[in-house]
Symmetry: C2
C-alpha cells in the first residue's frame, strides 16, 4: 500500500450528507430529532405497537388490519422451523465461533436450501424474520445442551425464551418488543446501504441480507451495544465510573455508546430504551449498572457534549434481562432484518445499479517493468 | 409498498459520477478509455504479466521482485488446501445448488474456521485467493465424482485443470491468465463498493468478501458473461444471429454483453479478450461461436452504437475452452477477489464509515391508529 500515506482523509467523507437512494420507509430529521417509519413517529410505535406490526408495516407499507396481523403473526411462528440442513450446519460449528459468523453461515445455508426462486421476495423475508430467533436459540441451546421448544406467541417473548432458556417476565417481554421496534429500521445505516447496493445488481434476498449481517458485524456499527456493556462492566460503582471515564478522556481513549454518525445533538431512540432499562433495574432491585451508566452519561455530556445513543442503555436493559453479551449484535440482526428486507424490496421496485466512482489518488501512469529489471 | 408508484426514478441516480472513496488501486479514465492498476496500463499487464504478479501488485502496491513473486506463488499453491470443515460443507450441499451460493457458504465457513483475528488481513487475503479455485474444483469434481489433484503451478492452469478435469493447453492457460488479470480489478464496481461499505464498519475480511460475492451474483453484475453465452447459443449461424438480434431490438428485448455503467464509447478490456477468443477458436478449428458473436456485435454497433463489453468475448473464450457456463461467474469471483481484498485493506488504512442519507419520498407524518380503528 505504498501510496496510502499521501491520502487526504478529508476528500473521502464516507458519503456523509449525500442522498444515495429514494426511500419511503424511514424519515430521519436531524434538525427536529424526529424519526418516523412510514410516517408514524417512532415514539408512538415504541409505545403502542408490537414488532409483529412494525415488521408488517415496513415490509407491506401499511399497518395491518386485525386479520392481516393475525396471519402475519402465525406465519412468523410457523417460520421458526429450522431445515435439517441448517440444524446440521449449526451443530457442526464449533462453540467458540463468533455468533455473528454463525448467523451469517446459517443464513447462507438457508439461501441454498430455500432459494428465492422457489419463494417470492416477501415470503423469503417473513421466513427470515421467523427463523432468525430460532437460529439464535438453536445455537445457544447447543452450548447449554438443552433445547427450548417455546410456545411464546410473540417474537420478542420467543427470542428471550429461546436464547436464555428461561421464560421472560411480562416486563422483559415488553422491553424486548420495544427494543426490536427501535432497532428495526434506521434509513441508510451502513448495513442497510450495503444490502441495497447488493439488491441493485438484482441479487437474491439472502445475499442482500448477508451483506447486512456482514456489515453490521463491524465494531463501528452493530458491535456498539456489546462495547457499551464492556465499558460499564469495567467499573464497580458510579464514583469509580466517573473518575475512570475522565481518565479515559484524558488519555483520548474512545468511550463507546456516545454520539452518532447522523445525529448531532441527541438520539431520539435513546430516552425510550433508557426508560425500559430503568424500569427493569427497579423491578429487579438492582440499580448498580443503571447508576454507573448514568454517571458516565453525565461525564460525557459535561466534558464533551456527547449524548448517549440507542446502543448505550440497550446494553443495560439486555444485561439486566440476562442476555449474554455475545448475543447483543445477533439480536440487532433479528430486528434490523425487517428494515433490510423492506429496503431490498423497495430497491427492486425502482432499481438503478448503485455504481459510484472513486477519487484517484495514486501514482501517475507508468511503464510495466519486466521482472529481470526490478 | 404503497408509496412506490410515486417515486421519481430520476432522483435516484445510483450515485453515478459521485466520488465515494479515495483509491490508489485503479484509475479509470472514461475520456481516454484508459484503465490502469496502480499506474500500470491494463493492456501491458494483460500482455506481459501473470495473475500472480497482478494480485501481488494489487495487495502490496508494487510489482514483486523475483523472490517476492516466488514466495507469493508458493503461498498461493500452499493455500489450495481445504479445511475438513469446508470440504464437509461442500459435500453436504446439493448438486443442484447454485455455484455462487455454494461459494458464498464455503467462504463463510472458511471465515468461521480461520477467523481474521488468527491471521492478519493480508494473509487472509492470500488464503482466499489460493483456496477459491480449490473450492470450485472440489465442488465440480463432486458432480463428476472424481477429484483432480493438480500439480499446475499457476493459478490459471490449476483453475482450468481442477474445474474441467482436463489439463489445459498452453494457449488455454495463457487465455485464463489474461482473463483473470482483466477481471481482477475495476475501481468501484457495485461488488467492490459493497465490500468497502462493509470494511468501513471495520468488519472482518470474510464478511467483506461475502458482500462482494453476494453483490456480484446479481444478473446486472457478474451474471453478464453467462447471459452473453446464453444469447450466443440461441443461434446456429451468423445469419440467424443477425436477424434474431434485429428482432430482439424491435421487441425492445435486452441484449446482454453490450454497454457499460461507466464506459460510454468502448470497453478497453474488450479487444484484449476478443483476440484470445479468436486465437482459441482458430486453434480449435471451430469458428462458429466467434462468428456468431461478431455478427451480433456488428448489429449492436450499427443499430444502437453499443459496444461489446468484457463479458461478451469472455463468454466465447470460456465456452470454447470447455468451461461449464455455471462457473463463469464463480471464476469472476476468483479473479475479482484480488481487487476486493486490496480495496478492503485500502479502506481500513484510511477509514471513514460509509453512511450516506436517503431522499425521503414517503408520506407525511401521521398519527398511529390503534388496530381496532383500522
Amino acid at each position: 500500500m505504498a501510496k496510502l500515506k499521501e491520502f487526504k482523509s478529508d476528500s473521502a467523507m464516507g458519503l456523509r450528507g449525500i442522498k444515495a437512494v429514494n426511500t419511503a420507509l424511514c424519515s430521519l430529521s436531524v434538525e427536529s430529532m424526529k424519526l418516523c417509519y412510514l410516517g408514524y413517529p417512532l415514539e408512538q410505535l415504541a409505545r403502542y405497537s408490537t414488532f409483529e406490526e412494525v415488521s408488517y408495516l415496513l415490509i407491506n407499507g401499511e399497518l395491518p388490519t386485525r386479520d392481516e396481523l393475525s396471519n402475519w403473526t402465525q406465519q412468523l411462528i410457523d417460520d421458526r422451523t429450522l431445515p435439517e440442513m441448517v440444524k446440521g450446519g449449526l451443530e457442526r460449528m464449533s462453540g467458540s465461533t463468533d455468533p455473528m459468523s454463525v448467523l451469517r453461515t446459517a443464513v447462507s445455508l438457508l439461501g441454498n436450501e430455500e432459494p428465492e426462486q422457489k419463494i417470492d421476495g416477501k415470503a423469503a423475508a417473513v421466513r427470515l424474520l421467523g427463523i432468525l430467533p430460532a437460529m439464535l436459540g438453536y445455537l445457544n441451546s447447543q452450548k447449554k445442551r438443552d433445547r427450548i421448544d417455546s410456545d411464546e406467541k410473540t417474537l420478542a417473548g420467543y427470542l428471550l425464551h429461546t436464547v436464555r432458556g428461561i421464560r421472560p417476565t411480562g416486563m422483559e417481554r415488553d422491553m424486548m418488543n420495544c427494543s426490536l421496534i427501535l432497532y428495526a429500521e434506521h434509513e441508510l445505516a451502513a448495513s442497510t446501504f450495503a444490502a441495497r447496493v447488493c439488491a441493485s445488481t438484482l441479487s437474491d434476498l439472502h445475499s442482500c441480507i448477508l451483506c447486512g449481517i456482514g456489515t453490521l458485524a463491524g465494531p463501528l456499527h452493530g458491535g456498539a451495544n456489546e462495547a457499551a456493556l464492556e465499558l460499564l462492566c469495567r467499573f464497580s460503582d458510579p464514583e469509580e465510573a466517573r473518575s475512570g471515564v475522565l481518565r479515559m478522556l484524558e488519555n483520548k481513549e474512545r468511550v463507546m455508546g456516545f454520539g452518532h454518525a447522523v445525529y448531532k445533538e441527541s438520539d431520539p431512540r435513546s430516552p425510550i430504551i433508557r426508560e425500559w432499562a430503568h424500569k427493569l433495574c427497579t423491578e429487579k432491585k438492582d440499580m448498580r449498572l443503571f447508576e454507573i451508566a448514568e454517571a458516565i452519561e453525565h461525564v460525557m455530556w459535561n466534558e464533551r457534549r456527547l449524548f448517549s445513543n440507542l446502543d448505550y442503555y440497550t446494553a443495560v436493559a439486555y444485561s439486566v434481562s440476562g442476555i449474554p453479551k455475545s448475543l447483543f449484535t445477533p439480536i440487532f440482526v433479528v430486528s434490523r432484518c425487517a428494515g433490510w428486507c423492506a429496503h431490498v424490496l423497495e430497491q427492486r421496485a425502482d432499481n438503478k445499479l448503485v455504481r459510484p466512482i472513486a477519487n484517484y489518488v495514486g501514482t501517475e501512469e507508468r511503464e510495466y517493468i519486466p521482472i529481470e529489471k526490478r
